[in-house]
Amino acid sequence: MKMPSGNSSLVAGACITAAFIGVAVIAQFWTPYDARGISIVDKLQGPSVRHWFGTDQLGRDVLSMIMLGAQTSVGVALLSVIIGMFVGVPLGLLAAAKRGAIEEWVMRGNDLIFAFPALLLAILITAVFGPGAVNAIIAIGIFNIPVFARVARGGALRQWTLDYTLAARVAGKGPLRISSEHILPNLIALLVVQGTIQFSLGVIAEAGLSYVGLSAQPPTPSWGRMLNEAQTLTALAPYLALFPGLAVLLFVLGLNLLGEGLRRRAQSAS
């Protein structure tokens, strides 16, 4: 029996998430105006039929910038989740499969990364390698590694207590083969849920990093920098802060609803 509330949050979350990803894809081929096109004549116009979300202090169309900003946001968050998963999950599986010293090293390494706030880590990386979207991806990705390692290890340890892993050992399979054949497939649901949550945290982290100028550099639009630039103009043109702010809020809300819905579905299935 499906929980109606779990189901509705799943549907709402999936719709919102799909809408933002759709916008990011469309922006690749089409935006109402050139988001990088400066036109001082049209500067600081309020929302209108021509410019739905108005224009900024350089006359750029805010809607187009938000559409391209979605691309930056989705790209950075998605790639950092992928980095976290591809490094963290094998580490977690390895720790659970080998136990002992390897587990200690992996988990204490995780604690070390966890000890740094994501922003500090990003500043560290950009200080060394220079600011940019790629470095933001790496910084957020590194922060994701221990999260996935812990989730994978926890789920794997539970499965190692079950007899089917014992049966696989009697069938002569080693810990690494059992991890990939039995344990990983049974972790997928858990990892998808965590991935969604990390995606939403990635969106927030990207907005934060670009707000302080450490993510995608101009002229590539990003929501965080739009908020930063709108800050000095809030009295004159409050809508400049409103729309990118709403975009971050709505996207994160959608991802969280999706994660919650997926979590409940995974729970009722097991």
Binding site: L162, L166, A167, V170, A171, K173, G174, H182
Partner: protein, 533 residues
């Protein structure tokens, strides 16, 4: 004793339209023990909960429950609370979850007294002491001041019994009170219940899945099947002349008469030889100065299994039989000793030769639910040990072989494509047996393989095993705590206690004349159906 203490008339319980108890009617007299027997899900626990007025809110019920002529089924909750504990006591299966872990046991029993009677603290404690005394916890220094975690399972169940009887209720309901206990403790707790009932002229409803437990204790037995009481009679009458076919099947299954023909010829060679195995586990350091003494789970065990022989390994939980089995399966390394299969030694071998050895021994585990990856199909699961073969069979060969073993264990080839969750517990054990058979091993080990099954299913699985042993000439190492089951299947048995083998011999000889005092105690404690001529 003709006065009816409890009268249950046409009791029905249903959950959302599904009836789990159908028109059950029975009576219990003062001083009488009524056994209620049935498989899991037959509605026996729901009947007990209804009598206590403890059904979950989702349940709908009808029918009358009369205690001394007073109808309990329509009674408001506030009044029921005075009945529970004072007039009806209840003992549950798991004593640990029935006790508050943070309160000393004396306090818990005293609390029950003070809830129902206006007495002083001291009087309540005196009553608690008396109840714990008669529950067999007397003579222990400061028994009242101990916490539940300091007690063994049997002692905890005694505390639960003391709590249930401290107010001298007229009726006691015990729901599987000994299922979580080992046989020796089970026998003690059962005779305690019997003595209490006789001494206080109480009525007792003893709910269990085990006919043998009931045969020893109950005056009358009610058999439940799919929510209905299918038969109700005096115990000896029911055992001698079961009228209902379900009762007869249950009795036959409980007797476990497999009619096996004798074991292998005397000159049969040993396929599995275990010599001087020692397995120790490190313990936590408790002193800064002394190294911790390791826990010796298996202490110099030597045993052998010959070709075509079924060997039983019996012991209580914690006797080291599971640790020994893990060593035999090469899942763990022993500190010393040697395991050889088909004449080849296991120790110091690398993965490749280890796998060659493993082909000769496979295993069936206890839990029919945890031993399969829920995402794999039956064909993939049964085919998993093919990994042991140097050259795994092709997909077509594999399908044929899996279909063949499925049919050997009484399933059909079409089941290969299904997932494990589509099967019942008994069917899953058949799949596990098929998985063990697929590499045609010389020995199959069974780790409590029928302990989680209902008696009827257990009988079917054991018959299948006896049949397979005869046809395939495979040897079994049958590990179990249940003497009754081991007696039915094994040609020869080893009795294990505290990591050591204390007795071995031909099954019938050991059962007829046990040499070791521990074996004798174990045998005496095992509940069995009386032999009726």
């Amino acid at each position: 004793m003709s006065d009816k203490l409890l009268e249950v008339v046409a009791l029905s319980v249903s959950f959302g339209g599904r009836r789990v108890v159908k028109e059950a009617s029975f009576t219990v007299n003062a001083g009488e023990i009524l056994g209620v027997v049935g498989a899991s899900g037959s509605g026996k626990s729901m009947t007990a909960l209804k009598i206590m007025g403890l059904l979950p809110p989702a349940a709908a019920s009808s029918g009358a429950v009369r205690l001394n002529g007073e109808n309990l089924s329509g009674m408001p909750e506030s009044q029921m609370q005075t009945v529970r504990g004072r007039k009806i006591g209840m003992v549950f299966q798991d004593p640990m979850s029935a006790l508050n872990p943070l309160i000393r046991i004396g306090g818990q029993v005293a609390e029950t007294v003070r809830l129902h009677r206006k007495v002083s603290e001291a009087e309540a404690r005196a009553a608690a002491r008396e109840a714990l005394d008669s529950a067999g916890l007397q003579g222990e220094q400061g028994a009242l001041d101990r916490y539940p975690y300091e007690l063994s399972g049997g002692q905890r169940q005694r505390v639960a019994i003391a709590m249930a009887t401290v107010l001298s209720p007229q009726l006691l309901i015990a729901d599987e009170p000994t299922t979580a206990l080992d046989v020796v403790t089970q026998a003690q707790v059962l005779s305690l219940l019997q003595n209490l009932v006789r001494a206080h002229n109480m009525g007792l409803i003893l709910i269990t899945h085990d006919l043998a437990v009931v045969a020893r204790l109950a005056d009358r037995v009610a058999v439940m099947h799919q929510g209905e009481i299918v038969e109700q009679a005096a115990t000896t009458e029911l055992l001698r002349h079961p009228r209902n076919p379900y009762t007869a099947a249950l009795l036959a299954a409980a007797r476990l008469d497999l009619r096996r023909t004798g074991g292998p010829p005397d000159e049969a060679a040993a396929v599995l030889e275990v010599r001087g195995i020692v397995r120790e586990y490190p313990r936590k350091r408790t002193s800064l100065w002394r190294a911790p003494v390791p826990l010796r789970a298996v202490d110099e065990v030597t045993l052998s299994v010959r070709a075509g022989e079924t060997v039983g390994l019996v012991g209580e939980s914690g006797s080291g039989k599971s640790s020994l089995l893990r060593v035999i399966l090469a899942l763990e390394r022993p500190q010393s000793g040697r395991v050889s299969l088909l004449g080849e030694s296991f120790s110091n071998s690398r993965a490749a030769s280890l796998n060659r050895q493993r082909r000769a021994i496979q295993v069936v585990f206890q839990d029919p639910f945890g031993s399969f990856d829920p995402r794999w199909t039956v064909e993939e699961l049964i085919g998993e040990p093919f990994y042991l073969l140097g050259s795994p069979p092709t997909a077509a060969e594999r399908r044929l072989k899996v279909a063949a073993v499925l049919e050997q264990v009484g399933l059909s080839a079409a089941d290969a494509r299904r997932l494990p969750r589509e099967f019942s517990g008994g069917e899953r054990q058949r799949i596990a047996i098929a998985r063990a058979l697929i590499t045609e091993p010389a020995v199959i080990a069974f780790d409590e393989a029928v302990s989680a099954l209902d008696v009827l299913i257990r009988e079917q699985i054991l018959k299948l095993l006896a049949d397979l042993a005869q046809r395939l000439k495979v040897s079994y190492l049958f590990v179990s705590h249940d003497l009754h089951v081991v007696r039915a299947i094994a040609d020869r048995i080893y009795v294990m206690k505290a990591g050591r083998i204390v007795e071995e011999g031909i099954t019938e000889a050991v059962f007829a004349e046990p040499q070791n005092p521990y074996t004798r105690a174990l045998l005496a404690a095992t509940p069995k159906l009386p032999v009726l001529s």
